[in-house]
Symmetry: C2
Subunit: 252 residues, 2 copies
Amino acid sequence: MTTWTVGQVADVFGVTVRTLHHYDEIGLLVPSERSAAGYRLYTDEDLRRLQQIVVYRRLELPLDEIASLLDGDEDPDVHLRRQREVVMQRFDELTELVVAIDRALEREMDERPATTAELKELFGDGFSDDYQQEAQERWGETDAWKQSAARTSRYTPADWAEVKAEMEAVNAAFVAALESGEPATGEAAMDAAEAHRLHIERRFYDLSHDVHRGLADMYVADPRFTKTYEDLAPGLAAYVRDAIHANADRHA
Amino acid sequence: MTTWTVGQVADVFGVTVRTLHHYDEIGLLVPSERSAAGYRLYTDEDLRRLQQIVVYRRLELPLDEIASLLDGDEDPDVHLRRQREVVMQRFDELTELVVAIDRALEREMDERPATTAELKELFGDGFSDDYQQEAQERWGETDAWKQSAARTSRYTPADWAEVKAEMEAVNAAFVAALESGEPATGEAAMDAAEAHRLHIERRFYDLSHDVHRGLADMYVADPRFTKTYEDLAPGLAAYVRDAIHANADRHA
DNA sequence: GGTCGCGCCTCACGCAGCGTGAGGGTCAAG
DNA sequence: CTTGACCCTCACGCTGCGTGAGGCGCGACC
């Protein structure tokens, strides 16, 4: 007996008969022989192919990719390496997941991530969803945005409250420097600028001094940012921009 | 504006509109309001629920479980802990996967895991798939079987050849002891028994001396095992059994 | 040679969790 | 009053099989 029936093959390889039927249907593994009665008969070669299929399935490759891998002229090496990357990525995701679950367990949903509504309560209408939407459109593809989104998605209302307090402290420092009559290139203003940069870096995303410059320019160029600062003190937007540039110069 | 439309909600929460429709269809998240034109309008409370859903989805919980979790009286803690275990298990699987991929890359499918056909070539008909089948039925649920299956599934033909050589060496030791006229309780026989146990432990599964006794009894009770030994030398099956028991006594 | 029981066959529908049109209203802006 | 971006409701498609239903094939035992 040098051929095997579905049941035998299924048992040995730990798959179901239906799975073998399916592989036959889609042409992934068509048994080389059939008995007079129409029984599928698998040869050694078929088994070798199935062996490969089973291995690739454990790698969670879709069946059509397995097919092209086994039939095609493509280098299995390439596929394997790609698959390795995919698995490693899943790995990272799972790591995050475990962390998320642990956090969820710790706080038992009491201090859960904040909703947009709560963010609005905290930050006022400056934090509108329309704005978030636009921000995503403008920055959605950048690493900074992704990093920021990844972090803030896990912030609780309490975290956000802290963030807000930090932001207000930085702004207050700017206002104080401005109202003391110190120029934007002065120590206090530059220190506030550096504090601003560190705040963002700590809470949202990596921020080099150069990128910080770009942000500063936007504070003046984009009326919504400008308004936030101008509401605090007239001329603050430009003052902040200049302070940030001066601070960047200082750290150049 | 204290309610949101599908598109707004979708953007902010990073899901698609279709997903929201789906959640509505299956009753997982039915928006509290509808506009005159039939637009779905999501309230703050709806968003809070969606927030929970999104979190649980990241945990890969099926939607119906999420529903019972959010609606039911069940303790979310229990679900979370269970989910954590599931994720950790996936973790282990992925670890194995990466190892498997690396091995596959190393040997580039050349020294791939052996097929049943190859095993038969190596071990003769004693290693029939029928037998494997039965073994799985008898032992399939035991840890030992699983452990063995997990290990052997990655054995290459070369590995199996080594296994076979080891087995033959052990058997030869038994035969030599038997033919030298030494009793089964003698040193040489007991040493062979211990070598037998260590061989299985190294290649297949953990094997205590007590479990080893059970195996020994089966060698006499099950005609196929008996045959394997009797073919080597008459009376060997019983001799092996006795030697194993003696060895187990020695290590008690 | 009947018939038991297991294994094989071919349909064919079902499942999750949406994706992806089709075909048609709605709403703010110009 | 039109345009264009949204919204609506069907409704079929996709993966990778699970799960019967209804019906032959085959070795064993009577």
